[in-house]
Amino acid sequence: MTTKLVLENIGVEFGEGEGKTTVLDDVNVSVNAGEFVAITGPSGSGKSTLLSVAGALLTPSRGKLLLDGQVLSQLNPKESTTMRLHQIGFIFQSAHLIPYLRVKDQLLYIAKIAKIPKQKAKKRTDDLLNMLGLNHRKNHYPVNLSGGERQRVAIARAWMNDPELLLADEPTASLDAARGREVVETLALQVKQQQKAAVMVTHDTRLFDVCDRVITLSDGEVTDIEKVQLKDPVHS
């Protein structure tokens, strides 16, 4: 089994001198291809920060980040932007859609900057919107969507560039339990089928059974790694 994502001795500190706070301290996480990992832990424990490091959005103060064997912690901003575009799909804690783009354009834009051919991009957009039950909202602007719909558009957007690594920060926060479960199961299935890797931050213990592993963060340290009994989410 190949290792997709490796976080090695990651440390993150904010501020200088007196006001210095250590948010992550010596965190080691690795995710294999086809693995769907959940991160949980109390508010303020550093989950979002860890995800930002994994997504090449935040350069850690210490430690090493590898994606597909490539060291990411030493990339310049331009290189990490390219990395994010082609290898990483990021679902933020709030949807963060572009206000002036219609739902389908949110996805087509990713295709455009990732230089995916038009025909293919159209098809993928339709498929993703279908998969997330957003077909009837294709031509809506984000203002006219419900919170859950926005969250689903953000999920579709993160999937659009067919990333090797999917990072999701509480993607089900504004979805009802049933819909949330459905979305997470779909994501897990995709990850498995295409041998991608996914890390999801969640507080929802009911979703743990869909994940392969649950990592608990507390005060910036990994306190618990729980192996969830492997089961095929399709047949659950």
Binding site: R84, H96, I110, I113
Partner: protein, 362 residues
């Protein structure tokens, strides 16, 4: 383009306001330029038109470029003849004329060989062929003169006849009348034609400096430069062009401030775009395309409005806007708009994806 157009359409009101400001500023710039140009022409069209066919004046070096004070002596005339094949004597003399009802009008009496290419075209009537006949600028018609009318000339105290009219021949805001060689000889008070200036074609820098070193009491100046010697010309032009320069500076600052505020408001969006993999160059391109579209559209409307306003102006109001000036000003305006957006580009380059996103959550 993808983002640029979609955002312009989405935030119509905001960008229409920016466009409105660019439109107003460009309209003002073009209108004042038209007035400056019109005033220049109303003042000195006779000399400006000479600049079309010729390039240099040889003038008295102590005349401070004032044709009416300038006299090129025989010796210097000879020097010019030795060096340049083509040169024309230009005589300028300001004075007044009086009609039979004793009402006076200021004029500039010009002499040019009527065979030369510099001699203006007759638009009405005929070229003077005999002594005491003149070709006058058509603005003299406003004083009630017609072809065939007579007037009393103040220096010779003789009666002259207008045989024809020409157009766009003014000097120091007064109509020019072209007198014959015989009359100029008489006005010169003697036996040879006095030359206020010698008009030369484009003889090249080198010949100019040769001449300048050989001339004893005269110098070669470009016709363009000599305009500043016409009474009132520099004062009028200076004040108007000063306004235009300031309008450009104000435009630059206003636009910079506008674009900056808009960019600051959109910083979170730029952060998200960066986070999902948009390159800085693409964001810069988006901003520049937007600024380009807005400024081209508004300046185009500004040009249209300027010409419309010009058409509605009373005919005796001097206004002139040649297309090449419009093109220059338009280009300059768009450059100013783009310069105004540079600060925003810098800001966008600097924004950190994560910080921008975090900023919205807080």
């Amino acid at each position: 383009m993808f983002l640029a157009i979609r955002e312009l359409l989405y935030s119509k009101l905001r960008y229409i306001m920016v466009a409105l400001i660019i439109f107003l500023l460009s309209f003002l710039v073009l209108f004042v330029s038209g007035l400056a140009q019109g005033l220049a022409y109303d003042n000195a069209s006779s000399i400006i038109n000479m600049d079309e066919t010729a390039e240099y004046f040889v003038m008295d070096d102590e005349a401070e470029m004032q044709l009416t004070r300038s006299l090129v002596d025989d010796e210097d005339q000879q020097t010019v003849h030795d060096e340049v094949d083509q040169s024309e004597i230009l005589g300028v003399h300001q004075g007044t004329i009086e009609d039979d009802e004793e009402s006076q009008a200021d004029v500039a009496k010009f002499y040019l060989d009527d065979d030369s290419a510099l001699f203006p075209e007759v638009t009405e009537g005929e070229k003077p062929s005999e002594q005491r006949e003149v070709l006058a600028d058509e603005s003299l018609q406003e004083e009630g003169y017609h072809v065939g009318d007579e007037f009393l000339e103040d220096t010779t105290e003789e009666i002259f006849t207008i045989t024809g009219f020409t157009s766009n021949q003014k000097y120091s805001h007064t109509p020019v009348i072209y007198v014959t060689e015989e009359d100029w000889l008489e006005l010169s008070g003697g036996d040879e034609l006095l030359a206020s200036a010698l008009v030369l074609p484009d003889i090249g820098e080198e010949t100019v400096s040769t001449l300048n070193s050989q001339l004893t009491d005269a110098e070669v100046v470009t016709i363009q430069d000599s305009l500043s010697g016409i009474p009132g010309y520099s004062e009028e032009q200076m004040s108007l062009w000063m306004m235009i320069v300031f309008l450009f500076i104000i435009s630059a600052f206003v636009l910079a401030a506008f674009f900056y505020v808009i960019t600051i408001q959109k910083l979170t969006q730029f952060g998200i775009l960066k986070a999902i993999g948009t390159k800085v160059s693409e964001l810069a391109n988006t901003i520049l395309v937007q600024v380009g579209i807005i400024s081209v559209v508004s300046v185009t409307i500004g040009i249209g409005a300027t010409f419309l306003a010009a058409a509605l102006l009373p005919p005796d109001m001097p206004f002139m806007l040649p297309l090449n000036l419009v093109a220059t000003l338009t280009g300059l305006f768009i450059v100013v708009a783009i310069l105004g957006s540079l600060l925003s580009l810098y800001k966008v380059k600097k924004v950190d994806a994560l910080e921008a996103i975090g900023g919205m959550e807080a």
